[in-house]
C-alpha cells in the first residue's frame, strides 16, 4: 500500500529525514519508535503532505501513485489519516461541525452528495459510543480547552468517523490514562482489516500490547536504523536506544 523510497526531507535547509525506506502492506501494523527529535513526526507530516517540509530526494508512493504533487487534502481523500501528536485548536468550530465538513468534503471529492443528516447522526452516535465519548463533548469547540487525553481520544474519534485506509498515529498514547488507552486501542483495532494499515508512533511498549504490531522500526537521526518484529519493542524498553545509536554509527 505505502512505499517510502530513500526519502530525504528538510526544513529551512536542515535535513531531517535522511534516506528512509519503508514498505507497509495492506493489513499490516507497523510501529515506529525512536528517541526524541529523531524525525518521527516529520515523517508523518511528510507522508500527509505538509508543505513546510521539502522533499529533496526519494518518493512516497500510495497504491502505486507517487504523491509528490498531491495536496494534503487530496491525500486525505485517498485515505491517509494522521492522528496528530499535538492536535490544533479551532475556536468556535464544534467537533460535530468539523467532522461534518470533513466527511462531506471527502464525499464531494468522490462526486457524492452530502451525507444525509440522519446518517451523519447515526455515524456520530455509533463512533462516539465506541470510544465512550460524551455527546456534550461533540458540541464543544474543536480541541479548545480539551485535556491532553481528550485531544487524543478525539483524534481517534475522527479516525473512526473517516475510516481511513492508512492511519498514522503519532504518539496517540501519550496523555491517555490506563482506561482511555484501552478504549482508544480497541477503537483502532476495530478499524483494522485486511484492506487497511496502521502506523503507530510511540515511545512505549505498553500501547503495543493492545495494538500488536507486525513490524517495529527504530528511527534515529532521520534514518531507520533497525527493524524487527514486536519483540524489538520489548528489547528497546529494556535497553534504551544507546546500543542502537552506537550500532548505527559503527
Amino acid at each position: 500500500m505505502l512505499q517510502i523510497k530513500n526519502l530525504h526531507a528538510s526544513v529551512e535547509d536542515k535535513e531531517i529525514l535522511r534516506g528512509i525506506n519503508l514498505e507497509v502492506k495492506a493489513g499490516e501494523v507497523h510501529a515506529i519508535m525512536g528517541p526524541n527529535g529523531s524525525g518521527k513526526s516529520t515523517l508523518s507530516s511528510v507522508i500527509a503532505g505538509k508543505e513546510e517540509f521539502e522533499v529533496t530526494e526519494g518518493q512516497v508512493i500510495l497504491d502505486g501513485e507517487d504523491l509528490e504533487d498531491i495536496s494534503p487534502e487530496e491525500r486525505a481523500h485517498k485515505g491517509i489519516f494522521l492522528s496528530f501528536q499535538y492536535p490544533v485548536e479551532i475556536p468556535g468550530v464544534s467537533v460535530t461541525n468539523f467532522m461534518k465538513t470533513a466527511i462531506n468534503e471527502g464525499r464531494k471529492a468522490k462526486g457524492l452528495e452530502d451525507m444525509p443528516a440522519k446518517d451523519m447522526l447515526k455515524l456520530i452516535r455509533e463512533k462516539s459510543e465506541m470510544l465512550e465519548i460524551d455527546r456534550k463533548f461533540l458540541s464543544r469547540s474543536l480541541n479548545e480547552g480539551f485535556s491532553g487525553g481528550e485531544k487524543k481520544r478525539n483524534e481517534i474519534f475522527q479516525m473512526a468517523m473517516l475510516e481511513p485506509k492508512l492511519a498514522i498515529l503519532d504518539e496517540t498514547d501519550s496523555g491517555l490514562d490506563i482506561d482511555a488507552l484501552r478504549i482508544v486501542s480497541n477503537g483502532v483495532n476495530k478499524l483494522r482489516s485486511k484492506d487497511n494499515a496502521v502506523i503507530v508512533i510511540t515511545h512505549y511498549q505498553r500501547l503495543l500490547e493492545y495494538i500488536v504490531p507486525d513490524f517495529v522500526h527504530v528511527l534515529h537521526n532521520g534514518k531507520i536504523v533497525k527493524s524487527g518484529g514486536k519483540e524489538l519493542a520489548l528489547e528497546l524498553e529494556e535497553k534504551g536506544y544507546d546500543w542502537l545509536k552506537n550500532e548505527a554509527t559503527v
Binding site: 500527509a48 494534503p72 487534502e73 489519516f81 494522521l82 468550530v93 468534503e105 443528516a117 475522527q158
Partner: protein, 481 residues
C-alpha cells in the same frame, strides 16, 4: 436541540426568503451640486410640509459651517460635495439587457449566495419576466401589521401621514448638529423607512427595509426612524447580502432608534456595498450615524455584519438614559484587499443600573485595515453601571492591520467595566490540520472564520445568519497567500 445543525442548514437553504415586506422608495434625478435651492427642491419634489423644508434648511446651514472629520483611522480622497447629485432615481429596467451582458464574476457570486435568477435580473436592472408576487405579499402583511396598529412605511410617507410622530422624534436621537455627515443627511436625505410599534405590541414578524434586493440608487442618503413605544418589541433587518454595486460613491445614512420604557428593539444589519476592486479602485464610502435612545428598562441590540464598502465609518451607539436600560453591540467587520473600516460603538450610561455588552470581531485580510473604536461612558449619576467589552481580531497574512481604540470615561465609582481584547492569526498549523482531514484551504479558512465569528452570527435572525455565513466565505475568497 430538535435539529442537527446540518438539517437546519439544509432546510434553510431550500426555504424561500420570507421577510415581512419592504418599503417602496421612489426617487428621480437632480443636477449635481448642493445649495439651498437644491434642498428646497428635494423637499418640494417630495411634497413635504413646510416644517420639514425648514428643518432641512436649518440642517443645511449647520452643515455648511462644519468640517469633515479627520479622526478616524481611514485614508481616502475626500468627496467633492458639489460633484454629487443629491437626488437620484432608481434605474429603470433596460429592455435590451439580458443576463449575458452582466459581469460573469458577479453572476457567480449571486449563484453562491443562492440568489434566484429573477432576483439576479432585478439586481442588474434586467427586466424580470415573472412578476414577483411581493405586492400581494406586502398587502397581506400590511393588513396584519395594521391590525396591531404598527406603522411601517417610507419616511416620506410618514412625514405626510404621521407628522406628529416624525416631528417629535426625527432628530431627537441624532440631532442635526451631531456631526458632519449627520447634518448633510438631515439636509438632503432622499428617503428611508419609518416604523412605529404601539404600546405593548410585539411585532409579529421581522421588519425589513429591503426585500433582499436593494433598489439601486436609493441608499445614498437614507434616513431611518424606528420608535418602539412602551413595552413593545420589534426586530428589524436592514441591508442585504447581495453585493450592491452603486455609482454613488458616498453613502451617509442616519438611523435613529427610540426605545421607550420597557420596550426592546433588535436591529440587524448586513452591509455589502461594493468594496472596490482588488487594486482598491472604486468602492463605496460608507459614513453612517446610528444611535439608539433607551428609556427606563428598555433594551436595544445592534447586530451588524460589515463586509462591503471601500471605507466604512460607523458606530452604532446606545444612550442608556433610563434606569435599568440595556445596550448591546455585536459586530463582525471583514476587510479584504484595500478596504478600510473604522467601526465600533458608544455606550453612554446615564441611568442607574444600566448595562451594556460589546462584542466586536474584526477580520482583516489582504492589505486592509480594520479598526475598532469604542467608547464606554459612565456619567456621575449612573450608579452600578456595568459594561463588558470584548474585541477580537483575526489576521490573515502579514500585510493587513487590526487596531483597537477603546475609550473609557467613568465618573461614578460604582461602575464595573471589563475589557478583553485578543488578536490571533490563522495559523498554518490550523490550516494543515483541516487539510489533513480533507478540507481544502479555502474551506478551512471559512470554517475558522465562522468559528471566530460565531458569537455574533448567533445573534442574527436565523435566515440572515446563514446568508451572512456564506457572505463571510465569499468576502474572504482568494485571500489566502
Amino acid at each position: 436541540m430538535a435539529y442537527t445543525e446540518e438539517e437546519l442548514k439544509k432546510e434553510l437553504e431550500t426555504k424561500e426568503y420570507e421577510y415581512g415586506f419592504y418599503t417602496d422608495i421612489e426617487s428621480e434625478t437632480f443636477p449635481v451640486g448642493l445649495s439651498e435651492e437644491i434642498v428646497i427642491a428635494i423637499s418640494k419634489k417630495k411634497e413635504e410640509p413646510e416644517w420639514m423644508t425648514l428643518w432641512r434648511l436649518e440642517a443645511f446651514k449647520i452643515w455648511k459651517e462644519m468640517e469633515e472629520p479627520e479622526w478616524a483611522n481611514v485614508h481616502y480622497v475626500k468627496p467633492d460635495f458639489q460633484a454629487i447629485s443629491y437626488y437620484s432615481a432608481p434605474k429603470k429596467a433596460d429592455p435590451n439587457k439580458t443576463l449575458d451582458d452582466v459581469d460573469p464574476e458577479l453572476l457567480e457570486m449571486y449563484k453562491k449566495l443562492g440568489i434566484s435568477v429573477d432576483e439576479q435580473k432585478k439586481l442588474q436592472n434586467v427586466a424580470v419576466d415573472i412578476v414577483m408576487d411581493s405586492v400581494s405579499v406586502a398587502t397581506t402583511f400590511k393588513k396584519t401589521l395594521g391590525e396591531k396598529g404598527i406603522i411601517f412605511c417610507s419616511i416620506s410617507e410618514a412625514i405626510k401621514e404621521h407628522p406628529e410622530l416624525v416631528k417629535k422624534y426625527l432628530g431627537s436621537v441624532v440631532p442635526k448638529t451631531d456631526n458632519f455627515y449627520a447634518a448633510l443627511n438631515s439636509a438632503v436625505f432622499s428617503d428611508g423607512s419609518f416604523c412605529y410599534i404601539p404600546k405593548g405590541v410585539r411585532c409579529p414578524m421581522e421588519l425589513s427595509t429591503y426585500f433582499r434586493i436593494n433598489q439601486a440608487g436609493t441608499g445614498q442618503f437614507e434616513r431611518t426612524l424606528v420608535i418602539a413605544d412602551e413595552g413593545s418589541y420589534v426586530s428589524y433587518l436592514e441591508g442585504c447580502t447581495a453585493p450592491s454595486r452603486d455609482e454613488n460613491q458616498l453613502h451617509a445614512a442616519v438611523v435613529e432608534l427610540v426605545s421607550l420604557d420597557d420596550a426592546e428593539i433588535k436591529y440587524s444589519t448586513v452591509q455589502n456595498w461594493f468594496p472596490g476592486n482588488k487594486e482598491g479602485k472604486g468602492g463605496v464610502y460608507n459614513f453612517v450615524t446610528k444611535r439608539a435612545l433607551c428609556e427606563k428598562n428598555a433594551k436595544v441590540s445592534w447586530t451588524q455584519v460589515e463586509t462591503g464598502s471601500a471605507v466604512t465609518w460607523k458606530y452604532p451607539s446606545c444612550i442608556l438614559k433610563g434606569d435599568n436600560s440595556i445596550g448591546e453591540f455585536y459586530s463582525i467587520a471583514v476587510t479584504n484587499n484595500y478596504q478600510q473600516a473604522d467601526t465600533g460603538t458608544k455606550m453612554i450610561h446615564l441611568g442607574k443600573n444600566t448595562r451594556s455588552t460589546i462584542i466586536s470581531k474584526g477580520i482583516s485580510a489582504g492589505k486592509s485595515h480594520n479598526s475598532y473604536r469604542g467608547l464606554v461612558q459612565v456619567s456621575s449619576r449612573a450608579e452600578n453601571a456595568r459594561n463588558f467589552s470584548q474585541c477580537d481580531s483575526l489576521l490573515m497574512g502579514n500585510e493587513c492591520g487590526a487596531h483597537t481604540f477603546p475609550y473609557i470615561e467613568v465618573k461614578n465609582k460604582s461602575a464595573m467595566i471589563e475589557h478583553e481584547a485578543t488578536t490571533s492569526k490563522i495559523g498554518e498549523d490550523q490550516i494543515f490540520y483541516c487539510n489533513q482531514r480533507g478540507i481544502d484551504t479555502e474551506k478551512a479558512i471559512a470554517l475558522i472564520v465562522n468559528g471566530f465569528s460565531k458569537e455574533v452570527l448567533n445573534k442574527l435572525p436565523m435566515e440572515f445568519a446563514v446568508e451572512a455565513q456564506k457572505l463571510l466565505e465569499i468576502s474572504l475568497e482568494g485571500s489566502v497567500g
